[in-house]
Point group: C2
Chain length 212, copies 2
């Protein structure tokens, strides 16, 4: 069974997955790196000295078993990237996806084949349509919804997410893009677990009932 | 040193401390009892069969060392209680406060002396003024800010809270009264700890830097 999964989506205590304004210089706005420091300190991110505890165990689940990613336009680049013919994402010539990767945008572009197995496809599609396309490309493996918060929320609202891994960071951003709006009662369809770790973050997993 | 403390303030994952609409029949609106089930299952609440683990340890901290409480009008009664001369709070003849208890309201009323040491005083005052009055009444002991969320937020915004204990319950209410609005950067003034427990909730403590 091919699942639809979200991993390592970091949010503040007040529920923001990014600050504002987002720009080339500040992809997460006034949040800076604060939402992701827990991950930078893991072996998953830092191969030389990162930690091997529970934060790393969660972080590493990002990759295995995933055959395609879907991301929102705001994850692929700063505002206006669609008008820059040279923009190929934040990640350099060898992006960390290594699978077909579908970018949701209203601006059609030809696919971009990168090194290491990543090919960016640009789709103007509903969540269900995008998921059908990505599922086909994933060749029986799982599909990751890569964010940002708006795209994850859209897929949650459409009932398309099987497994959601959030990391709640104990900061208050006050403004930005909120994950939770409009999701009243979401927990009724999921088994929810929470675990706080020595780094101070709390991992939350939502696993759709009946998935396992 | 007399501290200003908040205990057992339960919030949903999306940050609501109560649902809506609040009424005599449903003091927490559509949230019902869901925000407080963790507490009903502790020895603090259920003397005959409640649990004695970490949830109970936090719950019991509500009372010791507290010499006065400040609460908002919405905690004392349902909308319109100010116009009911017979309304004496939700808690019967012997309320669980056992100290002077200050209710913030724009409608002046004479004090109500209850059984067990609780006297309700009705104050039309700013957070700082109310705290000065309650501190005086507390006789050197601590002052508890009893909620609801609006009052706790007002005291946090005024920089008057020394210790804040929150309990995050893994439900999404979608609507109600949100605790966090306007509190960007709150964590900078506090040492923050998080601990998830077997009941599924996550306790968060904010302790003002330099307090201990």
């Amino acid at each position: 069974m091919s699942l639809t999964r979200v991993h390592n989506l970091s949010i503040s205590l007040d529920g923001f997955a990014t600050g504002e304004p987002q720009s080339l210089e500040a992809p997460f706005g006034h949040a800076g790196e604060r939402l992701h420091r827990w991950m930078f300190a893991t072996r998953y991110w830092d191969e030389d000295g990162g930690s091997l505890g529970v934060d790393n165990a969660f972080a590493e689940r990002h990759t295995p078993g995933v055959g395609a990613e879907i991301m929102g336009a705001n994850k692929f680049g700063p505002p206006g990237w669609q008008d820059d013919p040279e923009w190929k994402g934040w990640w350099g010539p060898n992006p960390p996806f290594h699978t077909p990767t579908f970018v949701l945008t209203h601006h059609a572009k030809p696919p971009m084949e990168m090194e290491g197995g990543t090919t960016f496809h640009f789709l103007d599609a509903s969540p269900a349509e995008a998921l059908a396309t990505a599922r086909e490309a994933a060749g029986g493996r799982d599909v990751r919804i890569g964010g940002g918060a708006t795209v994850v929320r859209d897929f949650l609202l459409a009932g398309l997410v099987d497994h959601l891994h959030l990391v709640q960071v104990p900061i208050l951003l006050g403004r930005g893009v909120r994950l939770w709006d409009g999701l009243e009662g979401l927990e009724e369809s999921f088994d929810v677990e929470a675990v706080s770790t020595p780094s101070g973050v709390t991992h939350l997993t939502f696993t759709r009932k009946g998935t396992t």
